[in-house]
Symmetry: D2
């Protein structure tokens, strides 16, 4: 463990892709706590309600990330653990709204139709008393990283798309107190993050959460020589696997298959027993049903896997 926190600033153009082609903005050792300074998913450019999303954003320059961060010692085939210590919201308001042709309940660029899209709307939501306010309604802050992951091998994927390396999963479980396990597919792992959310409901159905700039305070750890296929999230209580795909049942299949295999291995159960029992105790949490791939978290409580 390191004594002091290393602040990491972007200091150059934000990457809009998860890719090994970007020059690292920092090289850090496992164990070193870092504070990564991130803009919001609109690059902090949406500041007034009379703006429109289309005034400031143009595909594919969307969802700017911080990174990549080179983790010393990481090699293809390892697993990167990201211990999230804190997610500091660095603005006293969130921005939300509707983006044309984006979201679950409108025709989109993928679910194309001949009928009208939802409109282009921007809303600023004050943050005070540890709550986000929508007029006189409010909800608790529950900050997490909407987008977090490592560079894929060979490819450069837009930062809107969650996949096997993480990315834009929009899962509320990527929050302080949890550890995100990511596959290492390139030397140095090449960690990216962004898209801070002050809070978000399951599925991010409207397409936009309570978007805020944040500092991700985290510490990296490496598991050498152990590869994982899809991101995992752990804490003292839970084992979780995240799957991302379309349609939504395929995201669920990936997450559940991964969880059954993991529980089988860790608790020395055969696959049939693991399936039978997980069927009775599984928790499914829909991360997003708006992004190019949908994301689902399959979770089990460890206490239900232990005798007693």
């Amino acid at each position: 463990m390191s004594k002091s926190i290393l602040n990491v600033y972007q200091g150059r153009e934000y990457p809009y892709t998860y890719s090994a082609a970007h020059e690292p903005i920092a090289k850090v050792d496992p164990g070193q706590t870092v504070r990564i300074h991130c803009v919001d998913c609109f690059e902090n450019l949406l500041v007034e309600e009379d703006q429109k999303f289309s005034d400031v954003c143009e595909y594919p320059y969307l969802n700017p990330q911080a990174g990549p961060i080179f983790v010393n010692g990481a090699e293809d085939g390892d697993t990167l653990l990201v211990h999230i210590e804190d997610i500091e919201i660095t603005r006293d308001w969130a921005v939300t709204g509707l983006v044309p042709k984006f979201g679950l309940l409108t025709p989109t660029a993928v679910t194309e139709m001949l009928t009208e899209s939802i409109p282009d709307i921007v809303r600023k939501l004050p943050i005070r008393d540890n709550r986000v306010w929508f007029g006189d309604l409010s909800t608790e802050l529950s900050p997490f990283m909407g987008t977090i992951g490592t560079a894929p091998k060979l490819e450069a994927i837009n930062a809107l798309t969650p996949a096997h390396y993480g990315g834009n999963m929009d899962c509320p479980e990527t929050c302080a107190g949890n550890t995100v396990h990511l596959p290492v597919l390139n030397d140095g792992a090449l960690f990216f993050c962004g898209d801070g959310h002050a809070t978000q409901g399951h599925g991010e159905i409207g397409g936009v959460a309570c978007e805020v700039p944040v500092n991700l305070v985290c510490r990296f750890e490496l598991i050498k020589g152990e590869a994982i296929g899809w991101p995992r999230i752990t804490n003292e209580d839970y084992m979780m696997v995240v799957g991302s795909a379309r349609p939504l049942e395929d995201a669920t299949r990936i997450a559940c298959t991964g969880l059954v295999d993991w529980v089988s291995a860790e608790y020395d159960m055969n696959s049939t027993d693991a399936l039978l029992w997980i069927t009775q105790i599984l928790e499914l949490r829909v991360g997003n049903v708006c992004d190019p791939n949908y994301s689902v978290v399959a979770a089990v409580e460890r206490r239900l896997l232990e005798a007693g």
Copy 2:
């Protein structure tokens, strides 16, 4: 409110369809508490682990229901409220297992493939100390009705399929303390229920929960002249809408659209505001991803819709 509970027994063949063609087994008044005696989804015929599912069940004679119950005064266009007071498990063991070509993680009759299905397996799980036991692992009882609904208009749909009238939603929220709102599509509503689950994880991914015979203790109430499109579930804290369809995102779309519309109406918000806010506070719970239609519950906490 009535003073005593009316016990309702099937007393004739179990219906395997949700349909207005079945003769009612009882006629009850709103306000009358009833105790409806139900067999398990295997008609209580799986009693030994060396049996196979295929020994006792043959399509379409699956998931026998109790009912229909004629609710006096119910007419097409009303809404039936089912206040669930208790779900009494009437056996000290549950049955679970795997059914060939059924479940999320195997080729099925719908997701047909040329490769092997999961095998036919039966397991008996003891119930004691308010827990279900799988060897030396255990989890809390959390009983609910896997299947509950009213007869559709004109049609007779197999009891495995959830749809707009309810049916085999496999949503853990159809439990004691909650009120299920069902569309009335025929005179007398024609209420059915069955498929008691001692507990079940989200999605019922293996295809079979902890199946038990149960008594459903409930009380009916009518909302005259108010129709709903899809089932709702309420309690003091939550408003919930259940959607059932394939693929899973369409089930989610139905549930979320219904919830946005309902919240708009009840809290006098326009549809855009309701969508923006629900996006931040929504809870999605996957009922099933194994049945002919998948089911998703979209839920919001009422306190987050009220100023303060």
Copy 3:
């Protein structure tokens, strides 16, 4: 073969469901040629362009069928062959249009959204010179039965939904010269048909074809003791299997699995060889992507399965 054609008229209310609960309108012997008189899918009630679909149709009273016809000698487990000899269009215009919340390119009752549906539009298209006319554009008549099938076991399914027993497949291959193979699931097979189409593009993407009243001229044949899981269509050149499900890839999976199995059996190939070869020669034809289940035809030419 019978000498004369037996005319079959409905003579009572049209059924809106595929179900064994309807009284047969005729009992016919295999080999007897019948002419079944059918109204169009709007019960011949849309006759002016200033009408709206919603003026004349209300769910679930949609797509009235002729039938059921009891085929003497048919028993559960047999296969019914329907040799289509002719489809006679009995009106000199077709009706088409758009139905709100129906079709591939609009939010629907299943793919529910918060945005606007397509409008309610009615168009009359003249038929002359063996062509259907849309203003000064025209296309060849290519009449077929949009809906054709047998009663399912136990269930009563609305006539809009294609399934394992046939129904509203909207496949242009159910036309004169072809033989439709249907599972017999009840005594007498209980054959239904309706929804005559003067012509239709693949997928019926707008939701409404060139709808016409027709007479189906056909002859029944029974294959005793041989059951099929899903409809087949044959002619001298082709073997075809129809699958119906959502999403569209599952309909395709059903059709392709059925075709591989059938070709394996008929041409004495193992399943792997059949898959390898069919992959190179398959024709897929999308029947509908607008109905409650989508339908896909998987077809192979027999000449490509025979040495030489």
Copy 4:
């Protein structure tokens, strides 16, 4: 038109991604006929039936492409026309087979399950007399480019995935005599091609076509300042749009929406009329239902859009 054909050889490592990051292998003028020499999708490394796919291929080093070719004068916002003059098969046998966890009728890396995958099988199919032979069965050669497209903006996408820039569409219409229209998203368009197929059935359901090394003989043309969203294919008779997505209905929605818009513009019809008429005359051809995105071609005959 140029007088002589320019032969283009790879001359360096094959790219496995569609990306602007690769150095062009040639710069060519519009109008110049080129012959692009391509290896098969297994890099010509599968040469014996006792090999396995997994012996020679490892994700993500799959489907090696020829390219990129820089088309002089092409700029972001243009459209690149690729006039396919010939596809020359350069080997007297094709390779096909089954790839574990790939194909429509097996659990895959996306449709993950706990059950067994199809096996790893390699087959060599002789080509003679203009036919491909599978034992004593045979079918006509019908060569086309399985993979063809331009570099996307910013991203680098694996060559297995079809998308808005083309890529691995596996559509038999990318054949000699047809013109493929591709969006230009980078200076020089950056054209890639590969994955020659001697023939293939619709959907490539087994996952592997009759794979052959080919020379693509084609001529480029630019339409300056006119952008398209998705690939189009044209010949004298047809207008076609290709959509790629999951689930399969979304690929179909993209293709059909694109076609309705294009026909509206080109034939001066309003969108409603275009939809109504295309519904009656559409042809849908399923390119693939095995790749990371599925591809569908929506086609209309021009003669049905012209009066007379």
